[in-house]
């Protein structure tokens, strides 16, 4: 047993042997345990998404809840996937950056388009997390003020300093979203 397994072997799994996780509309039944395709009790959600399901669009930077790079939507709200254990996500619905496009038409989410139009990225490493946090904001508040955008994104680290373009992109997407309603 590795150290992490020992640490988490006390988590009550309530006799469960698998978890159900819906990611981007697709249901995954994942066995709990060790080995390929399984979910270790110590696996974080970001690990499961990236390493087990191959959804590498979600990025990990600090791996400790400080930077927002790993932000995904869980039941519509922004969460830090590096701070959640996958076994705690049983029955949840997760959306990652890969799932933002319209599944039928393949059309980009207006936020994604707006990030492109404003070149709201430099290295692009923080961008998936930025877009997911912005998405959660607009879900909640379709026409935020600039201050509200800044507040909502203040947990997202961007070292290249793309903040200014990101604020423009989110405001613009919000404006277009409201106009098209």
């Amino acid at each position: 047993m590795t150290r992490q397994e020992k640490k988490f072997s006390g988590v009550a799994l309530e006799g469960k042997h698998r978890i159900n996780l819906t990611v981007n509309g697709q249901l995954y039944e994942l066995a709990i345990g060790r080995g390929a395709g399984k979910v270790n009790p110590s696996d974080t959600l970001s690990f499961t998404l990236r390493e087990t399901l191959g959804l590498t669009g979600t990025k990990v930077s600090c791996d400790s809840g400080a930077c927002g790079a790993c932000t995904v939507l869980m039941d519509g709200r922004a969460v830090l996937s590096c701070m959640m254990l996958s076994i705690e996500c049983d029955g949840k619905e997760v959306t990652t950056i890969e799932g933002l496009k319209d599944p039928k038409t393949g059309e980009l989410d207006p936020l994604q388009q707006s990030f492109i139009d404003h070149t709201a990225f430099q290295c692009g490493f923080c961008t998936p997390g930025m877009i997911m946090s912005s998405k959660a904001l607009l879900n909640d508040n379709p026409s935020p003020t600039e201050e509200e955008v800044k507040e909502a994104l203040s947990g997202n680290f961007c070292r290249c300093i793309t903040h200014y373009h990101v604020v423009d992109a989110v405001m613009d997407a919000a404006k277009k979203g409201v106009e098209s309603k």
């Binding site: 590795t2 150290r3 992490q4 397994e5 270790n40 110590s42 990236r50 959804l55 590498t56 669009g57 979600t58 990025k59 990990v60 930077s61 600090c62 791996d63 400790s64 400080a66 930077c67 790079a69 990652t96 950056i97 890969e98 933002l100 496009k101 980009l108 994604q112 388009q113 990030f115 492109i116 139009d117 404003h118 070149t119 990225f121 430099q122 290295c123 692009g124 490493f125 923080c126 961008t127 998936p128 877009i131 955008v149 800044k150 507040e151 994104l153 203040s154 947990g155 997202n156 680290f157 961007c158 070292r159 290249c160 300093i161 793309t162 903040h163 200014y164 373009h165 990101v166 604020v167």
Partner: protein, 762 residues
Amino acid sequence: MTNYRFIGKSTQRKDALDIVTGKAKFINDFTLPDMLYGKVLRSPLPHANIKSIDVTEAKSFPGVKAVLTYKDVPDWMAGSAPQHVRILDSKVRYVGEAVALVAAETEDIGAEALRLIKVEYESLPAVYDVEEATQPDAPQLYEKFPRNILPQGIRVFGLHPLQEVVIGDIEKGLEDADFVIEGTCSYENIPNPMPPESPAVIAAWEGPDTLNVWLGSQGPHIVKVALEKWMGSINIRSVGYSVGASYGSKYMSWQYTMPAAALAQATGRPVKLSYGKAEHLAAFTVRLGSRIHGKVGIKKDGTVTFLSGDWLVNTGAFSEASQAMVAVGCGEAQLILRCPNWSFKPKVVCTNRTASGQVRGFGGQELKCALLPILALGMEKAGIDPVDFFKRNYVKPGEGYYWRDGEWWVCEGIDYTKAIEKGAETFGWKEKWKGWLKPTSVKGAKRRGVGVGIHGNADAGEDVSEAFVRLETNGTAIIYCGLPEHGTGQRTNICKMVAEILQIPLDRVSVTPADSLVNPVEIGPVGSRGTYAIGSAVIAAAEDAKEQLFEKVARNLKVKPEDLETLDGMVYVKGKPEARISWGKGMNYSGTCLGRGRFESDFSKPNFMMIFTEVEVDTTTGKIDLIRVVGATDVGQIIDPLCLTNQLDGCLGSAGIDSALFEEAVLDTRLGRIMNLNMIDYKWRTFAELPEMEHVILETPFSTHRFHAIGVGEITPSPGPPAVLMAVSNAIGVWMHDYPLTPDKVLSSLGKIAATKRGERA
């Protein structure tokens, strides 16, 4: 101004769709079949000999494939210069230095194996202060560096690299001066560039003499060149991925690539070595420590008569490229100061903390942060406005300087006076500047102040770039260039340049992956050379390809090549739109047009950046708010406006402006440990605290570039920290010289609390 089809227009970045959909591949998004994971055991002590090391238990742990110690790693030496760093050594020199390497089936297994390695250390005294380290009785890090001083005269840039600035006669300067001031200023808070993506690499051997590495380096080609030099006669193929930012730090990249190569060699399998964030912050590139004891002579009219001083450069446990950075810093000092008499002497010193290396600003920012505040003392004495001072002093066409190669270069660039004036006007400098140590405004406990900094770099034309451009029969073009994308949009920008020359839609131009097997020599997007040096090589290749195409077509149509022009994949005879032929036909659907371009070093064209800042200091709490930033530059010609503003906004981050305000690696000198090895305790600016930001971007044509561009490159943050220091000093009416200007220091400068020394507890 020329009206271009792509240049200067906002175009979608080529990788935009991949970035916003999560498809862009960074190195950690990539695995190889059969790949193992590397892990590093790191030293808990700042200076120690390894007395014994027992790996038996770790080796027999299930899933562990190799455990390496200093006894069994290859004798590869790195570091510059001379080489002095082993991947593992019998001695450790900083907390976090590698002690043992493990390769295992999973990261968890590797981490567990590290815990099973038993090391006995013989602790040695450690030294952290750059001056204490040079004392005769100081602990010595390397036998070959007496008093911990790295040798000078090393061939970092050619035969006689610049290692000091000695010009004229200091005595004469003393005589001519109306005022002589003396001061010490340090930029020693060891800020971390902290790119979001930590260093990572995959290494795999093909047979005994070919090593493949995949990594997020800013200069994949230079990784190949350096490793081939240091690892003996092997071939290296280096493939660059999207860089999760670097800010210079992931340029050489041998620090993590060589250990991965050793593990891959020992196991015969591919090995990924990926740093965690704490490892990244504890054991990877930080800025140089910079301390200047300087003396300046100045006349009443603001003319500087001499500058003398010692520049003490703390490189930490080893030098990645410190003498090279010092050479560039010495050159850059001369760009901002017109002065007949110099005696400016750097010393690069090793100490027992994590090593310093290349970071955006490459020696120049570290120098400016310590030098400008000393010059400011002189300006204060003479009662000179700093904007006027910089206007008078910044290098003009026809004026000369010694550059990093030790040669005397004469500026053939442009005069940046207009950019300075426009910047000052936009900022409202005249209205806000009230004189030295005078606040702009006072409202109760809140005092505002303004400050300004300046920087320039003649490296925009440094080193060699080569590129090929291949025309396809279907009217598309491929650029062969070893340029990775590290955030500036440069891979797209070179496509724009080629599309402009060939007059084809932008989506018909692509760039090869940054793979050293495919591409010619490319030093990489460093030293602000992206637009000028790399751009010029690519442009030359495109022009060459076009020429070859026109020659073929001219023969075909029985006209002269100069009678031809091309648009959207068709070649026309000028003035006769009916006489046309497609690229494919022109090339007879067989044969290739492969254009070749090369750029050679040219240090005669400095670029320019100035930053104006306004701060508000709360004199009750000591908190400083950065209110407004105005950047001023002249880029010759904008290539892409949004990529440019992104780059200019970058002045806050990557150990830039904020390294004056709150960024620091807090070194506890009792333990030798950096105490804030996470992204909560290492402070960074959030969206909620963005200052107002404005850019003044002039476009004065640079005649020697095909599109008249010079760019701005890496220097956007560099003038920032001293500008903030000046602004805060003016706001509170007391000189502050101790980066970063945390609230406690503000309050102690105001005499409200007792001062604490760095590394001590309050």
